[in-house]
Amino acid sequence: MVDGGPGIRFYRMMAQSLKSAVGRIRIRIIAAIGLVAAIVLTWWMKVEDARIPDAPPPIAFGQPVSVGRSVFIPEKLALANDENGERKLVLTGLIENVTGSTQVAVFGFPEMLPVLSSGDTEFPAPRVNLVRDDDFLKQLEPRIREAIAIIWDVPPDWQAQDVLIAFSAQQFKLNDNLYSKSSWLQFHPTGRLTARPEQGA
């Protein structure tokens, strides 16, 4: 030991102080990483929210709208009477399966059919028929475009006026978070059609 120089205790103290400083810096770095991760996650959640618009875009006849596993092109909305003289609102159009396999859940699972609203009148859920033989649409094959009719029963007190038809689709995820398998998840609105029904047969 050199007289007047720092003693062994001094070096031990310095080493401990350095160790403590490294520990504190490590904690601060971890905290900073956590903070940055939280900021990035919040920012990404906002980006994800912006990707799905709050209000579905307006669509027109002849314009395709996604209904999830298939794409629907509305062509005509008519007010018609059935064989019993009861009024029906009939939306006709073309539908095509855009997946790689036969689909039974054409409008998603659980099924979410287009919703029709007009003023304060509530319309019951519609039924979907094939135009060519008026049979129920039971399934949709890939690459076969079918003409369909979506038929609503009209409440007796409803006067013909503009109606709004809202379409929605399930979100497809190739690898879900549970099994990493492809899944159809929550519904989101994809389009709204505003039209006045034509007088049909």
Binding site: T102, D133, K138, I144, N175, K181
Partner: protein, 182 residues
């Protein structure tokens, strides 16, 4: 040095995990039935059934009688009718069929013809007994040649065997109107 070693271990683990995630088959392709291929004579032996593909036909319109009523079904594309002879092996089973199209798309049996006579959808196969049945599909014509029939026990396809028949090499006989008889 210990810290550097720990970081190296974590990085190696992350790289190994990333490598596995990108190379291991996904859930959908892993959990599929085992493939059993039919022999040259068109006979496939599944775990619970033996099936022979006896013929293919296509038709624009299919008609049949149901409860005394005439039923006629047409298609926006074409109907493909696979004629099968099936024998149960160990237990009573119902089967389902799909057509793997030439483009790789999967076509299920047409639900619009479920009540047609001898349809596979309503058939049950008993051990030791042989029955004739048909599976009817609806598809674009260009999915037929190069496509193949797959037959598997209904509702238990995962971890069971599915019989793959040979690819269709030529277009089947086409009928404008095909009558299905019991």
């Amino acid at each position: 040095m210990i810290s550097v070693g720990n970081i190296a271990v974590v990085l190696f683990g992350a790289a190994a995990l990333g490598g596995m995630m990108n190379t291991v088959p996904d859930y959908n392709s892993s959990f599929q039935p085992f493939s059993i291929f039919a022999d040259q004579d068109g006979i496939g032996k599944g775990r619970q059934f033996t099936a022979e593909l006896t013929g293919l036909k296509s038709a624009k319109v299919i008609s049949y009688a149901q409860f005394g009523q005439e039923v006629s079904r047409d298609s926006s594309a074409t109907f493909l009718i696979a004629e099968l002879s099936i024998t149960g092996r160990t237990e009573s089973r119902q089967l389902e069929a799909i057509w793997l199209g030439a483009t790789g798309r999967q076509y299920s049996q047409s639900a619009r013809l479920e009540d047609a006579p001898r349809n596979l959808s309503s058939a049950r196969f008993e051990p030791g007994l042989t029955d004739r049945t048909i599976a009817v599909f609806e598809m674009p014509e260009d999915e037929i040649v190069g496509g193949r029939l797959v037959l598997a026990p209904r509702a238990s396809m995962v971890m069971d065997g599915a019989v793959y028949f040979a690819e269709a090499e030529a277009a089947p006989a086409n009928h404008e109107m095909l009558r299905l008889e019991p």
